[in-house]
C-alpha cells in the first residue's frame, strides 16, 4: 500500500518537472526572439509653455542572430499640445559597423501630419552593408535608436486638469537579413511601449488686500494697505493689471497710492520706466468712493515682451487716513475694503487677452474707540500720574482734551500728560481726541489711594575691601514701627551701572529687619558703590539709598597693622581694634611671609595680602613646626606649616629649646610645638659606639668577676 502511494507521488513529481522544464525552454526560446521598441521616459510633465524636452526610442532584447538591418517606427502625438522640433539618430546601430567607413547607417525622418496617423514623427534607419553588399556584424543588445525633441505649446488653465496626450509608438518594423543574404525577413517583436505626456494647468492668479483685517486706533491714523497678486504663472504672460478698491468714505479717506515692487522686478525694457503706473482716487456713480489702479508692464524697444512676471508680490500700496472714530461707549465701526473691477491682461500668443483669475480677497477695516493708559497703575494722592494716549505709529496731529474729574481740564497736542490728584477717591478721567472738528472720547475711572509713606533705611557701612563679605542691613518701618515689607528689592550700582541685583540675597532677621551678606569679588573695582533699596507694604512705598567705598588697601581702614583674629572656612575675621571685617583669604591672596614679635612679646605671623599686611596669632593659622632645614649659609631654620602656606624662620624667633637628646635624635620645643630632628652621621656613630662600649663593659665585668672567682678557688 505504502509502496504504491510512493510510486504515485514519484510519477506526479516527474510529470511536474517535465512540464516545468518544457515551459522554461519555451519561455527562453520566446524571450530570445522578442525584441521590442519602447519610449523613454514613460511619462513626462511639462511646467512651462515653450519648454522643450527629449524622448528616446529604444530597442531591447535584440539578438545578433536576428540579423537586424532595418528599423522603422512612428511616434504619433497631439499637435495642439506639442510640437516636434527635432529628431536625431541614437548611437545604438552606429556601434555595429559593416561599412568600414561612415556612414554606417542611413537615418531618415519625417515630421508630418497625414490622414492615416495624424501628427507624427516617422523614423527609418538602415544598417549599411560592406562594400560587397554583405553584412558581417549584426546589432544585438539594447540601445537608443532615435531621440525626438518636443516643445510644449499649450497649457490649460486651472482649475482644469492637466492636458495629456499619448506619445504613441506605432507602425514599428524590424527587418532582418535572411540567411542567404539575398532576401529580408521581418523580425518578430513585442508590442511597442508608448509614453504619456502631461501639461500642467496654469494656476489662476488671485488679487488680495493685505493685511486683510486692519484695526485703526485713533482718529487721523494714517496706514497703508497693499494689493498683492499671488499664484501668477509666467505662462499667463501678464502685461497689465487693473483693479479698484472701494471703501467707506465716511470712515476713511484715501490719501495716496504708490506702485508696489512686484512688476518692477520683471523689466523688459533696458531702461526705466519698467512699468507705467496710473492711479485715480475718485467717487463715481458706479463704484462710489474708490481708488483705481492700472499698471502696464512696458515692452522692450521693439514692442516685444521677453520677461513675464511670476510668483507673488505687491502691485500697489494704498494709503488711507481714519477720519471717523467711535467713542468709548460705542462699538467699533467696521467696513469692507472691496477689490472690484479687477482685470489682468495677458500677452498670450502675441495678442492681448484677459487672464482668468481667482476670486479677489477683500479686506476688512475696523476702527475702535481711543484709549489711554496711566502710570502708576495704583496711584496715591499727591502722586504724579502720567497719562498717555495710545497712538499709532503714524497719524495726523490731534488735539487731546483731558478732563481729570477733579475739576481740572487741560488741552494738549502731546500724547502724554501728567496730573496729580489732591486726595484719594475715584475720578472719571476723560480724553477727547479732536481732528478737524471730529471728536472721539474715552473715559476711564482712576482710583487714587491715600498716601502712605513707608520708612526704609539702608545701612551698608562706609568702607569695604575686595574679598570681604560685607553685610548690609535694611529696616522697613511704618509710623515708626518695624513692619515686614510685602515686596523688597535691593540693587547695587557702581559708576551709574547696575552691577548686582541683590534682591534674592535679602534675608529676614526680625520684623522689618533684613540683612544682605554680600561677598565683594576679588576683582571689584575700588570706588564708591551705591545700594538702592525699594520696599512696598501693600500700597505704601518707600526707598532708600546708601553708599560705601571699596578701598584697594587696608590703610584706608586703619593705619596700624590689622590683625586676623579668627579664620573659619577660609574667611578671616580681621580686627583693627575697633571694628571687624570678614575677608576671604583666597580672594585677597593671603600668604604668610614671616614671624614678628609684638610689643607684648607675642610671636605673630606676618601675612601679606593684596590689601596690605596683616598679622595673626600663630594658632589662628594652625602654625606648626614640621622640621628643620639648613639654609644656604648653613644656618638651621625651622620649617613652619600654616593654613596660609609654609615659612621658615630662625629658631630663636620661635623660642626653640632643646628638651631632649636621645641617641642621635634631638627633641626641640618651640613656641609652635615640639619638633624632632636627627643629627649627623658622626653622631649616629657615637651613639652606636656608646651602646657597644656598654655591652663590652658588661661582658668585661662579668669575665673579670668569673676570673676572680676562679682565682679565689685556686
Amino acid at each position: 500500500m505504502k509502496k504504491s502511494l510512493a510510486l504515485t507521488i514519484l510519477i506526479q513529481l516527474t510529470i511536474i518537472n517535465l512540464v516545468a522544464s518544457c515551459s522554461g525552454t519555451l519561455y527562453q526560446a520566446q524571450a530570445q526572439a522578442t525584441a521590442g521598441l519602447y519610449i523613454d521616459p514613460a511619462s513626462y510633465t511639462a511646467q512651462r509653455i515653450g519648454e522643450t524636452f527629449n524622448v528616446t526610442v529604444n530597442i531591447r532584447n535584440l539578438e545578433a542572430s536576428q540579423r537586424l538591418i532595418v528599423a522603422q517606427f512612428r511616434v504619433v502625438y497631439n499637435d495642439t499640445l506639442l510640437q516636434a522640433v527635432g529628431v536625431h539618430e541614437g548611437p545604438f546601430l552606429q556601434q555595429f559597423n559593416n561599412a568600414g567607413e561612415p556612414p554606417y547607417t542611413m537615418f531618415i525622418n519625417y515630421t508630418e501630419n497625414d490622414l492615416l496617423w495624424g501628427p507624427n514623427v516617422l523614423v527609418g534607419i538602415l544598417v549599411m552593408p560592406n562594400s560587397t553588399g554583405q553584412y558581417t556584424n549584426y546589432p544585438n543588445g539594447n540601445g537608443t535608436l532615435a531621440t525626438i525633441t518636443f516643445k510644449t505649446i499649450y497649457r490649460p488653465l486651472a482649475p482644469s486638469p492637466p492636458a495629456t496626450c499619448l506619445l504613441n509608438l506605432t507602425d514599428t518594423l524590424l527587418v532582418g537579413d535572411a540567411q542567404d543574404q539575398q532576401n529580408v525577413t521581418e523580425i518578430p517583436q513585442m508590442p511597442p511601449i508608448s509614453a504619456t505626456y502631461y501639461a500642467q494647468p496654469i494656476p489662476l492668479p488671485i488679487l488680495s488686500i493685505q493685511p486683510s483685517d486692519y484695526t485703526a486706533t485713533l482718529l487721523g491714523e494714517i496706514f497703508n494697505l497693499n494689493v498683492n497678486i499671488d499664484n501668477l504663472d509666467a505662462d499667463s504672460k501678464l502685461i497689465v493689471a487693473q483693479f479698484r478698491i472701494q471703501y467707506n468714505a465716511t470712515l476713511l479717506q484715501a490719501i495716496d497710492a504708490t506702485e508696489g515692487t512686484f512688476l518692477q522686478r520683471f523689466p523688459n525694457s533696458a531702461d526705466q520706466p519698467y512699468t507705467f503706473f496710473i492711479k485715480y482716487i475718485e467717487d463715481n456713480m458706479i463704484y462710489g468712493p474708490n481708488v483705481l489702479i492700472g499698471i502696464l508692464l512696458m515692452p522692450n524697444s521693439t514692442g516685444q515682451y521677453t520677461n513675464y512676471p511670476l510668483g507673488n508680490g505687491t502691485l500697489a500700496t494704498i494709503t488711507f487716513e481714519t477720519i471717523s472714530q467711535p467713542s468709548a461707549s460705542q462699538p467699533p465701526i467696521t467696513s469692507d475694503l472691496v477689490l472690484n473691477d479687477t482685470l489682468l491682461v495677458s500677452n498670450l500668443n502675441e495678442d492681448v487677452g484677459e487672464i482668468p483669475q481667482g476670486t479677489p480677497v477683500n479686506g476688512l477695516y475696523q476702527v475702535q474707540a481711543p484709549t489711554f493708559t496711566y502710570e502708576p497703575a495704583e496711584p496715591s494722592a499727591g502722586e504724579v500720574i502720567v497719562f498717555k494716549v495710545t497712538e499709532p505709529p503714524n497719524h495726523e496731529p490731534l488735539t487731546y482734551s483731558w478732563s481729570f474729574g477733579d475739576g481740572i481740564t487741560k488741552n494738549t497736542t502731546s500724547p502724554t500728560i501728567a496730573h496729580a490728584f489732591p486726595s484719594y477717591g475715584t475720578y472719571n478721567v476723560s480724553l477727547i481726541c479732536i481732528l478737524n472738528g471730529t471728536e472721539a472720547t474715552d473715559v476711564q475711572p482712576v482710583t487714587v489711594e491715600s498716601y502712605m509713606p513707608l520708612g526704609v533705611t539702608a545701612e551698608v557701612g562706609s568702607l569695604h575691601f575686595k574679598g570681604e563679605t560685607a553685610e548690609f542691613n535694611i529696616l522697613t518701618t511704618d509710623s515708626g514701627k518695624p513692619i515686614n515689607a510685602t515686596s523688597l528689592e535691593a540693587k547695587l550700582y557702581f559708576n551709574g551701572t547696575l552691577i548686582n541685583d541683590l534682591s534674592s540675597a535679602i534675608g529676614y532677621v526680625d520684623t522689618g529687619f533684613y540683612r544682605i551678606p554680600y561677598y565683594i569679588p576679588a576683582n571689584a573695582s575700588p570706588g564708591e558703590y551705591t545700594l538702592l533699596v525699594k520696599a512696598e507694604y501693600y500700597s505704601a512705598n518707600g526707598a532708600a539709598m546708601a553708599k560705601f567705598t571699596i578701598s584697594p588697601t587696608l590703610t584706608a581702614w586703619n593705619d596700624s597693622i590689622a590683625q586676623i583674629t579668627e579664620i573659619q572656612n577660609g574667611v578671616a575675621t580681621v580686627s583693627n581694634g575697633i571694628t571687624n571685617i570678614k575677608l576671604t583669604l583666597t580672594a585677597i591672596n593671603a600668604t604668610v611671609t614671616g614671624l614678628i614679635t609684638s610689643g607684648k612679646g607675642e610671636i605673630l605671623a606676618k601675612i601679606d595680602t593684596s590689601l596690605g599686611t596683616l598679622t595673626t596669632r600663630l594658632d589662628a593659622i594652625n602654625a606648626t613646626v614640621t622640621g628643620l632645614i639648613t639654609s644656604g649659609k648653613g644656618e638651621i631654620l625651622a620649617k613652619i606649616d600654616t593654613s596660609l602656606g609654609t615659612l621658615t624662620t630662625r629658631l630663636d624667633a620661635i623660642n626653640a629649646t632643646i628638651t631632649e637628646v636621645k641617641g642621635n635624635t634631638v627633641t626641640i620645643s618651640t613656641a609652635l610645638g615640639e619638633v624632632k630632628t636627627t643629627l649627623s652621621d658622626t653622631q649616629s656613630t657615637a651613639t652606636t659606639t656608646l651602646y657597644a662600649a656598654s655591652i663590652l663593659s658588661a661582658i668585661a665585668v662579668i669575665l673579670a668577676v668569673i676570673i676572680l672567682l676562679i682565682l679565689r678557688k685556686k
Binding site: 644656618e635 636621645k662 656608646l690 656598654s694 668577676v705
Partner: protein
C-alpha cells in the same frame, strides 16, 4: 704567674676599659654638643665636658698603669676615684644637664661605669687578702 699578678692584670684591664669608656662617653657628649650647637649654644658645656672626661680618662689610665707597675694600692685608689668621678659625670649628663644627654642610655649605660669601680675594688681587695694569711 702568681695570683696577685693575675688580679693586677684584671684590675688594670678594667681600669683601661673604664678609661676607654670615659673616652666613648666624651666622644658622644662632644659630638652631640657640636651637632646641636647651631640650635642651642653649647660652648661652655662642651668645655666642661672635655675637661671632665679628660680628667677621668687621665686618672683611670694613670691608675691602671700604676697597678701594672705593682703599685696596686695606689693605682686602685686612683681608679676608684676616677670611676667615682666618671659616675658623677654620667649622673650629671644623665639627670641634671639641660638637655639630658645620657638619660636615654639608662640603665644600660651604668655598665660603662662598673669597670673602673671594679678595677679599684679588685686592687684594694688584693691588698687586704695578702695581709690575711
Amino acid at each position: 704567674m702568681s695570683k696577685s699578678i693575675n688580679k693586677n692584670i684584671i684590675s688594670a684591664i678594667l681600669g683601661f676599659l673604664g678609661a676607654a669608656n670615659s673616652l666613648v662617653i666624651g666622644f658622644y657628649l662632644l659630638s652631640t654638643m657640636l651637632s646641636i650647637s647651631q640650635i642651642q649654644s653649647m660652648t661652655f658645656q662642651s668645655a666642661i665636658a672635655s675637661i671632665a672626661i679628660g680628667v677621668a680618662f687621665a686618672s683611670l689610665t694613670y691608675g691602671s698603669f700604676e697597678i701594672l707597675k705593682g703599685n696596686t694600692k695606689k693605682g686602685a685608689r686612683i681608679n676608684m676615684a676616677g670611676g667615682i668621678f666618671s659616675i658623677l659625670i654620667y649622673i650629671y649628663y644623665s639627670e641634671f644637664s639641660q638637655p639630658s644627654f645620657l638619660g636615654w642610655l639608662n640603665p644600660v649605660g651604668i655598665t660603662l661605669l662598673i669597670p673602673p669601680l671594679l678595677s679599684g675594688t679588685i686592687g684594694l681587695l688584693k691588698e687586704t687578702k695578702l695581709e690575711l694569711p
